[in-house]
Structures are given as C-alpha cells and as structure tokens.
Amino acid sequence: MLVQFANWVQGELACSPALAKIVGILLAAVPLATVFALCFAFTTWLERKGLARIQNRIGPNRVGPFGLFQPIADGIKMITKEDIVPRSSDHFFHLIAPLLVLVSSMACLAFIPFGLGMTMSPIDTAVVFFFAILGMNTLAVFLAGWASRNKYSLLGGMRAVAQMVSYEIPLVLSAVTVVMMVGSLDTREIVGAQVVEGWATSENSGLRFLGQIAGWHVFTPWGFAGFIIFFIAALAETNRSPFDLPEAESEIIAGYVTEYSGFKFALFFLGEYIGAFAVLGLAITLFLGGWNGPNFQPWWSSDPHALLIPGFVWFFFKMFVLMAVLIWIRGTLPRLRVDQLMSFAWKFLLPLALVNVFVAGFLFHVAKEDRVWASVAAFVFLYLVAKGLSRMNQSDAPAPRKYHFAE
C-alpha cells in the first residue's frame, strides 16, 4: 500500500525528476524511520517486561495499560532532560558520535527487504554495502568513548573497537557462504533463492505451504553453522549480552556512554537497537528466508502468487522472535572477559567460519542426487569440527570440579 502511495506521488511529481527523486527517498525513509522507532519503543517495553518475567517480577504496569506507554514516557523524559557536555570533552565529536551511530544503523536498514518490493535501496551489492556501513558503528562508538574524556569511556571505546573489528570477520565470512551459494550480493535475490520454486507455485496448498519454509538456508548444513556464527557475531557486533563489554556496567560504569545524558544518550540507545534490528534483519534475509513464511492463498484470489499474510508481517515476526532470544540471553548470561572475547572470535568462530566456507563450496559442487548424503556428512563434519575446536580451546574453558569435605 505504501509502495502504491509512493508510486502515485512520484507519478504526480513526474514533471520535475529531481524533486520526484528527493520526495521518493523521503517517502521511503520516513516510514522506515517511523516504523523502526516504534519497533524500538516496543522492544524496550518487551525487554523490560520479558526480563521482569525471567526474574519472576511483573515489570512496568503503571504507565498505560500493561506499562505499554512506558517507552513514550521514557522518551519524553529523555528529550526534556538536561544535556550535559563535559567541559574537557571534545564538544564536536561528543555531539557527532551519537548521530553517527544512529545514522549508520539506519542506513543499514536501507538494504533489508522487509517484504515484496519493500527494499528502500535496492542495489546489487547490498550485502557489501551493509557491512561497510555497519563498520561505521565501530567508529562512532570509539569516537564517543574518546571524545568524552572519561577513563571509563575510553576503556569502553577501546573495547568496542577491538571487539567489533574482530567479530566482523566471522560475521562477514558466514555471510559469504550465502553469497557463494546464491551467487548474488543482492538481498532481494538472496530472499528469492530461499523459496523452493517448484513447490511454492504448485497447486497443492500443502506443498506451497512448505515451499515457503523448506528453502531457508538455515536448514542446510552450511546455513545452520553460518546462522549460528552469524548470530553470535551479531551479538558481539551490536554490543548485546554476553558481549556487552563496551558498556559493561559492573566494570566500567556505562562504558562509552558514561558521559552522555539526556537526548544524546537516547540516541545511542536508539542507534544501538536499530543496529540490532539491522543485523537481525540481515540474519533473517540471509538465513531465515527473509519475508517468506508459511503462507496460504487468500480465498478471494485465484492468483497463485497471492499471499494471505503479507511478507513484512513475517519479517517483523521473525525479527521480534530473534529479539526475544536476545533478551532471553541477556537475562541469563554473564559477560565474557575482553581477552576471552578475542580468543573466542579468533580461535573458535573464525576457524569454524572458514571451515564452513569450504563446506559450502564442497556442497555447491555436489550433484543434486547426492545432496542428501552430502548434507548429512557435512552436518557431522561441522559438528566434529566444532567439537574439536572446543577441545582445542579447552584450556580456556575448564570443566566443573569435584570437591572434597573435611569432617
């Protein structure tokens, strides 16, 4: 509907192409920003409620029904709060850092296909662009830590750089498998490749139902391993627990946001969550079938391509499920130490991701009739590799001990 509206407006403005272009971009960007701001608000509510339930509490329930207006109250409060800029900080970078976080995260969203024809910036090299822009996040976080002129902030910023740079490699490597298999960097094509064509258009509604799922990359051996690596690296990339070292509150107060107050802090908060949405969105695009999902043919339509549930509903559903997993992890796990974080990335994730690339390449060349056996073998092989890697890292991961008692 939005797309139609956009097309209509562009058609009306056809007289001046430059204006039409600008308006077109705005028309795509504004809903995106709005929708994801709402998603952010909802996620903070979900996080507070979910964590509360995990901790056997009730959670916010005073501000609005079920505390649903809590994020709004938080937002208004944050905006009207005093903005403190430390005297000795670098004022310009102190200001620019939160904006940079938000902008880079938002820009990442441009390459994610939320639904059929709902990609804001449909370009051929979307995956590359995505990672390139995501890298700016690191810069922004370090900038924030450095510009604040606070020791804790500096520590946080340094941690952020080390962590994000190291985890970007397994993140990209696991995405490489998908790119290899699909043969395209275009996110729309990657999504399209995850539909079993024969099934999805068949007359049998059951087959059509399955056809929307069966092709997801996560069900292939390389996709499964890739998804897990991607997910773990995404946790680190977005500073989520158990990799929330840059803002580890029990060690370095609030890390790089220590000196930020009011609206700038809210921007950081927003940027971080949007970044999480973007990375999760890419995970969904690459491995979880994008906006595809089990779907039905609407009873009023005879078009075999018509869907009862619009694609973006599936997309956002998947995103919130993944977000819930993030919250669940956050409510359970303590965080790693900075050197262990590094060794985990370099000694476990990176070799596994490399092996995964080889496995994907191997499977790519296996003939179609041998796919099943090759897949099983690949699963076993990847499992053994993971196990071997964890044994190699045994000195880093000691086992529980037995204790003796004195009478």
Binding site: N56, R57, G59, P60, N61, R62, V63, T80, E82, A254
Partner: protein
Amino acid sequence: MEDPSKSTTSEAHTLSDSVDLDDATRSEMEKAGVIVSSVDWLYNWARSGSVWPLQFGLACCAIEMICSAGSRYDIARFGSEVFRPSPRQADLLIVSGTVTKKMAPQVVRIFNQMPEPKYVIAMGACAISGGPFKQGYNVLKGIDRYIPVDVYIPGCPPRPEAVLHSLMTLQKGIRRQRTLGKGSNNPAYVEGNREYPVPSFSGKDLDPPYNPEVWQPPEKRPNMPEDGCP
C-alpha cells in the same frame, strides 16, 4: 529546551510548596492557555513515570533498596527499575545509608553530575540526620545540608515498601510541578543548573559545614518549656 523561566516569584525549594496555586497564578495559567498546562501535564506524566534511579548504595539501606527492585516488591512496576550506573543518565539519587564526612563530597559531586531535572530521596535515618551514628565524629548529620532533598524516608532501614511509598510520594510531587509558563515552580528550571559547591574534607571536618543555599540550621523551638531544657 532547557530554557529556565524568567520568573523570580517562586522560591520553592521543596516540592510541597507547589501544592496550592494562588488565584493570580491560576488565572495567569488560564490566560497562557491550555497548551502550557497540557504540556506541563505531559512533562510531569513522563517524568513521574520514568524515574530512573542511580545505582548508588552507601550502607545498610542500599540492600533494602536492592530488595525493592527484587521480585517481591518490584519497583519496576513504577517504571523505575532502570538503575543507571552513571549519574549522567539518572534522574533520582537515592542516598541510601550513612553519609560519612569522607563520602559527603562525593555524594555532592554525584548530585552535581546528574542532569536536570533531578530528584533526591534521603533513605533511612542515617541519610536524613546521621541516625544512630549521628553522635559519631565522622558522620554527616543529614545529607540535606549539602543537597536539596525531595523526600525523606525514615526507618533504619526502611522497608522496601517504604521505598516504594517514597517513590509514590515523589511522583505525586513531580505531578504538581509547573514547568512552563510564568508561575514555574520547578527548581530545575527556576534555579538554573543546580550545581552546588562540593565541600572539602580536611581530614577533620567538612568545610563548609553546610551549604547555606539549601539548608539553614533550624531555629530553636520558640515555645520551649522553661523547665524542660535538656
């Protein structure tokens, strides 16, 4: 955004002063239009619904403060479970426990570091008046000598429910505040940036003994019985 009102009429230091509006201000408010009051309402609603305390514990009372965030009492119901570790992001400073003379400068400094609008709850006897330790040489006799306190919770330590009660008292106080318009009584706007001088601890005592801007020693009770002087 943070435009302090030019009004000089209000000398409100405590939230309680804002209970009664005199008629003049009320009509003034009405003239200023509904916008002011409804924006005020929105401000107050947001601020009272999302009071983020500072994760700051001093002594025994801190444990009860943590208990109030625990599952039995659950301060999260009021939207206040976000205990921020950095004062820059906190709205509420709960002075929970004995403030010693060595610690008092740091408490004042933390208050200064918090962005406006900020609130202070003095939790427990020690924070209010030195409590059971007030006769000691190293204990500050009440944190309100240096920073303005909005709500006092007596008790040693107060129950977690008392913390919740104090939070509700604070929320009521916040809802009575008027921020915009002429009759502003929000100290965060009237008094500008409330940054108070940090006392220095010389090893013996604090200098100055109190901050005259926020606290004056109370006058002796006028109707003190002649025969009953302690």
